[in-house]
């Protein structure tokens, strides 16, 4: 493991100033990704700035409804917070279906948003990888790509975004609050995740030294019936092959509002906007669900070992919407 320097920050301004003026530094929160990648040699930081003492761990109800989740709130604490379970069950479920109890006690919400991909070629620190060494090529295109993405890919990178909770946050139009060397700003979460395109090494629009301080989730009645399903090779402690966040509002048998997002298949947490557009106004039936799922996965780009995900994702969407009907917020005659 490369030598490291360490600084424990006592306030936000100090943490931001330190990281932004040290080119090979990074924030250290839970460390579950950072320490791992530094040890593997994939992350080449010389200085880690420990932000765990910053007062950013609160989970607060917002005055106008909605929730503000501090960037340093641990995954387990968010998953088991009463207001999360009540207002956004899909967030709680996504969190508890990720990682293990130990990792969820350590990992923070801000860190979760910034976690790096699990592509074996990215992590092995040897293979050509455009994300790790821009311009060297993508080993996954013709390699072992069973776990890789089928949506949002480019010829330069097909790594899957690994987060579960980000799928729920994308579905609910969360916003990311940051403080950086140029001040504070708010980034809608869908803009927070960048498609790989020609620059897979640039994953989000944060400046070096810009710190996530909170995630805000807007008030969203439809989210009260939300559901997160995750399909994977083993039942627990595993990344998704496909996951789906679904939530419905149904009136007189027709869908008036829907939230649908996918994990395990996209290079970013994937908001299924094509499917959503097709579902609004449609009858809440298995036929509508299947047609919308097909429309969303029509854009899939398949590789040798991950072609199965196209059908698996469609089946997952149909099941997710079907099960969300049980908890859906209904209106009118049923």
């Amino acid at each position: 493991m490369r030598p490291l320097s360490y600084r424990r920050a006592a306030e936000i301004g100090e943490a931001v100033a330190t990281v932004s003026t040290e080119p090979t530094s990074a924030f250290l929160a839970g460390g579950t990704t950072e320490v791992d990648l530094v040890r593997l040699g994939v992350a080449r930081h010389d200085l880690l700035v420990d932000i765990n003492d910053l007062p950013l761990a609160d989970i607060e109800n917002l005055p106008g409804g909605g929730l503000r989740i501090g960037a340093l709130a641990r995954m387990n604490d968010v998953a088991r917070a009463a207001q999360v379970v009540e207002m956004y069950p899909g967030i709680a479920q996504a969190l508890l279906l990720g990682a293990s109890e130990q990792l969820r006690n350590m990992a923070t919400m801000g860190g979760n948003l910034c976690q790096r991909v699990r592509c074996a070629y990215f992590r092995d620190n040897v293979s050509p990888c455009n994300k790790r060494e821009p311009g060297t090529g993508c080993s996954a295109l013709d390699g072992q790509n069973r776990g890789h993405a089928i949506l949002g890919t480019s010829e330069h990178c097909i790594a899957t975004h690994p987060s579960d909770v980000a799928v729920a946050l994308v579905a609910f139009d969360a916003v990311v609050h940051t403080i950086g060397p140029s001040g504070a700003r708010i980034i809608p979460i869908e803009n927070f995740y960048l498609l790989p395109g020609r620059t897979p090494h640039i994953e989000h629009p944060l400046e070096h030294g810009e710190l996530i301080v909170a995630i805000e989730v807007p008030p969203l009645p439809v989210a009260r019936g939300s559901l997160y399903l995750k399909f994977r090779d083993r039942q627990s402690y595993e990344f998704a092959l496909v996951s789906v966040l679904s939530a419905l509002l149904v009136q007189d048998g027709r869908i008036t509002e829907v939230r649908l997002a996918l994990g395990g298949v996209g290079t970013t947490p994937w908001r299924a906007r094509r499917a959503e557009a097709q579902l609004v106004g449609a009858p809440a039936t298995a036929g509508s669900f299947a047609a919308a799922a097909a429309a969303e996965l029509d854009a899939a780009v398949l590789h040798e070992h991950n072609a199965f995900k196209q059908e698996l994702a469609q089946r997952a969407i149909v099941r997710g919407l079907d099960q969300a009907m049980v908890s859906a917020v209904h209106g009118g005659a049923r």
């Binding site: 490291l4 360490y6 600084r7 424990r8 006592a10 320490v35 130990q102 006690n105 350590m106 403080i179």
Partner: protein, 200 residues
């Protein structure tokens, strides 16, 4: 600076700085602001109730500090990348992975390892139950399993076998002693002894 930024800073940054000032004023004296490395520096680690000052480089994991510097070799190094759970310890009462924790970040926190579980010669009920239920074969994962199992009962999510299996999934047993591990946890749960901790 654009108007939106001024407004943002007015609403978000300034209160935060106030919080920070309060925070600095009340910062625990055992976690002072610190800059160190890459060479070694004294780090005060509180493990099983005793505080030890050890010279550590910032890159040293809590697991290596325990095993190589404090001779507490009960916590095991399986994968060293947060996958197997053999290094599970408690930091401030919560189960975490010592391999992914840098030791220096644990300064001012309370660390508990398997060595801190027994009360003198008297084993913790979970240790006894693991022996009685034959909940291990090679034993390499056992310290981590037990640290996880005691925490699980304190967390209160062990009502069903399915819950136990889910909540213990971060501890891999390559001998696959899982049914007996679950039996040991059930035994302690049903005896109502789960919440007891010999040391803080």
């Amino acid at each position: 600076m654009p108007a939106w930024a001024v407004q943002l800073i007015a609403h978000h940054v300034r209160p935060k700085i106030m919080h920070n000032d309060q925070f600095v004023a009340t910062a625990p004296p055992d976690r002072p602001p610190l800059t160190s490395g890459p060479s070694s520096l004294p780090v005060a680690l509180t493990v099983n109730g005793s505080t030890h000052v050890v010279d550590l480089e910032p890159r040293v994991s809590l697991l290596d500090a325990l095993r190589e510097h404090l001779d507490l070799t009960g916590s095991k190094k399986g994968c060293d990348q947060g996958t197997c759970g053999a290094c599970t310890v408690w930091v401030d009462g919560r189960r975490v992975l010592a391999c992914l924790s840098l030791a220096v970040t644990c300064e001012g926190r309370s660390v508990t390892t398997i060595e801190g579980l027994a009360a003198g010669e008297e084993l913790h009920p979970m240790q006894r139950a693991f022996i009685e239920c034959d909940a291990f074969q090679c034993g390499y994962c056992t310290a981590g399993q037990i640290m996880s199992a005691v925490a699980l009962l304190e967390e209160g999510n062990a009502t069903t076998d399915a819950e136990i299996a889910e909540s213990m999934s971060g501890n891999i047993c390559r001998c696959a002693a899982y049914p007996n591990i679950r039996a040991a946890i059930r035994e302690v749960r049903d005896a109502g002894e789960g919440g007891h901790r010999a040391t803080a």
